[in-house]
Amino acid sequence: MPMFIRLEAGVFSLAEDPFTAVGDEQSVPPGDVIISLTRFQAEGEALMGEGRAVGVRLESHEEVEALAYDLPQLAVVALAFPKFGDGRAYSYARLLRERFGFRGEVRAVGDVLREQAGYMARCGFTAFEPADGSTLEDWRRASQRFRHAYQRSSDARSPAFVERGE
């Protein structure tokens, strides 16, 4: 099984990936799957009815609001980075966590580099598929680079303006 990096309760670990990413033109294999928004809208109900975990891959031009009512049933929302400079998914991740209260896995897929690790973790991503060969240790170091943060975000960190008052 392929591996991915998971962030759980502030701890990064390597995990085996139980999900299969399925393209729109492929037939759905048995087991847990991550499918496109289009496919989910057509086949999601049926697939979930088979008792398996289903995740949705959201492209960066797709609106996260389209998933709002399905979120309680979803195991994973995979947010795609077509290029690492395309920052839309950071907003989507925060909306999933802060506006829609999504508690499942938010996964970063696509052009995912370690330089983004800290930003992703702060916006509520909890799973990462690095495209740059980053090891678990690289990822952990990169995401824990800053001892302080100036803003409130989706993670549990106290921003500087709260730290200062303590």
Binding site: G87, R88, Y90, R99, E115, R122, A160, F161, E163, R164
Partner: protein, 551 residues
């Protein structure tokens, strides 16, 4: 000057450590140039024609003498003994080695300075009124709010990978010295009828290929809600700004496409849903306000005998006083403008020695306060009138007393083809030729306020669109030509200039400016600036005069 606390210092230390590793990985070939580029840009490092350029942030244009001396030292140690102040109140060094860059940012951090987010598609250095804390015109000190924005925007997790760069300006006076309406967001501090503090929020200004003047999307935003509102604007932009075409990716294009009202409605909806999580508590705003070193002003008569005597005795000083002094809110003090536009010099350049002279003067006579303006000059905001003659004498000795503030030779120019990989034409030497034509200070004063702005390409770093006279360098089959525009303004009466006519060859530009000025002198009615006359007469008399001359 905002004093860093241990959190601010830790933050810079962590950032410089990260940058040092990134440079090491690049030098070792572990990062490709494509992967490294956005990382170095977010640390102010550009690759230019001849070398790397390092753009150092001067947050809201505010410096203390220790910082300015450090910049002078960096210029001498790692560059060629000078630096270039930019239209975004940053300082650029143009001859940097990549391998030196990590050491330089460490030296910057030692004086609470950085180059974070001075480039790249992220929120850039914040601009504020250079007279903040010194002018009686202001409603409140804009630096407090600018510092709040600096912290909020630094390594913001959601907004570090925007469609394009993003610039914010804060002003608190009716007279706008920040060019707020040319920024992605312009914030104008106001008081409501019941005395509450708030911001007029203007969005979608910007120059570049398609110039736009910012439009008001909210007349009055309660000041304490500033950061949540900015977050709403940035989120709408991050989600919906164009990413398919770099030339259409600025927020101005989104605002224009949606229309002001629809854009405002989307921001308001997002703001309402998002709540106040980003807003600073009053205690933190008070802490930031308190972290600015307080000034101690003496009780002085409003007229200084020393100053008046010097004015009568020395005509050159009197001229400097007329053009480079501005009224201070406290009697017996003045705001002193230091021109970085000596005739024949490169606009915005300062040598390390000059920086040290200004640092010394700020320490001896200026309450340790120095400002950088978006017009590429420096300011000593708090000088006793009694001390102005001594300050002037020291400035004059260092070549820093050019009495040309807001006059025709106080030109904004980008680095142009002399440094920049994007440029089509020279800008600096065009500025020099114009300044030389108006080297006679009597004539320059007779002409009065005239803002000439020169860009070496359509990216408009020299703000030519908003010059009273704007000059844009273009390439025509390998030759440098210049398009002139008239009637632009970056101030509270912001406007985009109107084209004069066909582009002129390099050696005809200064002459054409001279003709424009002569036309203005002939046409002007009492009290009119160049801009006022142009707005009254339109382009016709100017066009006729220039093209009659040229052809």
């Amino acid at each position: 000057m905002y004093r860093y606390d241990s959190i601010d210092k830790d933050f810079l230390a962590d950032r410089t450590a990260e940058f040092r590793e990134q440079v090491a990985r690049r030098l070792a070939g572990e990062l490709s140039e494509d992967q490294f580029k956005p990382l170095r840009l977010r640390n102010g490092l550009y690759l230019q024609l001849h070398a790397y350029m390092l753009r150092i942030a001067v947050p809201y244009g505010s410096l203390n003498p220790t910082q300015l001396r450090k910049l002078a030292w960096i210029g001498r140690t790692y560059d060629k003994g000078y630096g270039h102040f930019t239209t975004r109140t940053n300082l650029q060094f143009h001859w940097i080695k990549l391998s030196d860059a990590p050491d330089i940012v460490d030296h910057l951090a030692s004086v609470d300075m950085h180059a974070i987010q001075t480039s790249g598609n992220c929120i850039r250095n914040v601009t504020a009124d250079p007279y903040a804390g010194a002018t009686s015109e202001e409603i409140d000190d804009p630096r407090v709010w600018a510092e709040a924005i600096r912290q909020w925007s630094t390594v913001h997790p959601e907004f570090n990978w925007l469609p394009r760069k993003f610039k914010i300006a804060v002003t608190a006076a009716a007279k706008d010295r920040t060019a707020a309406k040319t920024h992605d967001i312009g914030l104008n501090l106001k008081r409501s009828r019941d005395g509450a503090l708030g911001f007029e929020v203007m969005v979608g200004g910007g120059l570049g290929r398609m110039p736009y003047i910012g439009q008001t999307i909210r007349q009055f935003l309660p000041a304490t809600r500033l950061l949540s509102y900015l977050e709403a604007i940035l989120r709408v932009y991050n989600r919906h700004g164009r990413r398919d075409n770099i030339h259409k990716a600025r927020i101005k294009v989104l605002v224009a496409a949606l229309g002001r009202e629809e854009f405002a409605a989307q921001v308001e909806a997002e703001w309402e849903k998002n709540g106040a999580g980003a807003d600073l508590p009053d205690t933190e705003l008070a802490r930031i306000r308190g972290a600015f070193v307080p000034k101690s002003f003496e009780t002085l008569p409003s007229v200084s005998e020393t100053f008046e005597a010097a004015r009568l005795r020395t005509p050159a000083f009197a001229r400097f006083a007329r053009n480079n002094l501005k009224p201070h809110k406290v009697a017996g003090y003045a705001i002193v403008e230091i021109s970085l536009k000596a005739i024949g010099a490169t606009p915005g350049d300062a040598t390390s020695e000059q920086m040290e002279v200004v640092a010394d003067l700020a320490e001896r006579f200026g309450q340790n306060d120095i400002r950088v303006t978006h017009e590429q000059n420096l300011v000593l905001p708090h000088v006793r009138l009694d001390d102005v003659p001594a300050v002037w004498a020291a400035l004059a000795e260092a070549g820093l007393a050019t009495p040309n503030m807001n006059l025709v030779s106080d030109i904004i120019a980008c680095p142009g083809l002399d440094y920049c990989a994007l440029a089509n034409a020279r800008a600096i030497s065009v500025a020099q030729h114009i300044a030389e034509r108006f080297a006679d200070p009597d004539r320059a004063e007779l002409v009065g306020e005239l803002k000439v702005k020169i860009s070496g390409c359509i990216n408009a770093c020299g703000h030519h669109h908003v010059g009273h006279i704007g000059i844009l360098g273009v390439d025509k089959k390998g030759e440098e030509f210049y398009q002139l525009t008239l009637g632009g303004s970056a101030a509270e009466d912001a406007a985009v200039g109107q084209a004069l006519g066909p582009a002129l060859p390099y050696d005809k530009v200064a002459e054409a400016v001279d003709t424009l000025v002569e036309t203005y002198l002939r046409e002007r009615q009492s009290g009119e600036r160049f801009l006022d006359t142009f707005r009254r007469t339109g382009v016709a008399p100017f066009k006729e005069a220039v093209y009659a001359d040229v052809h």
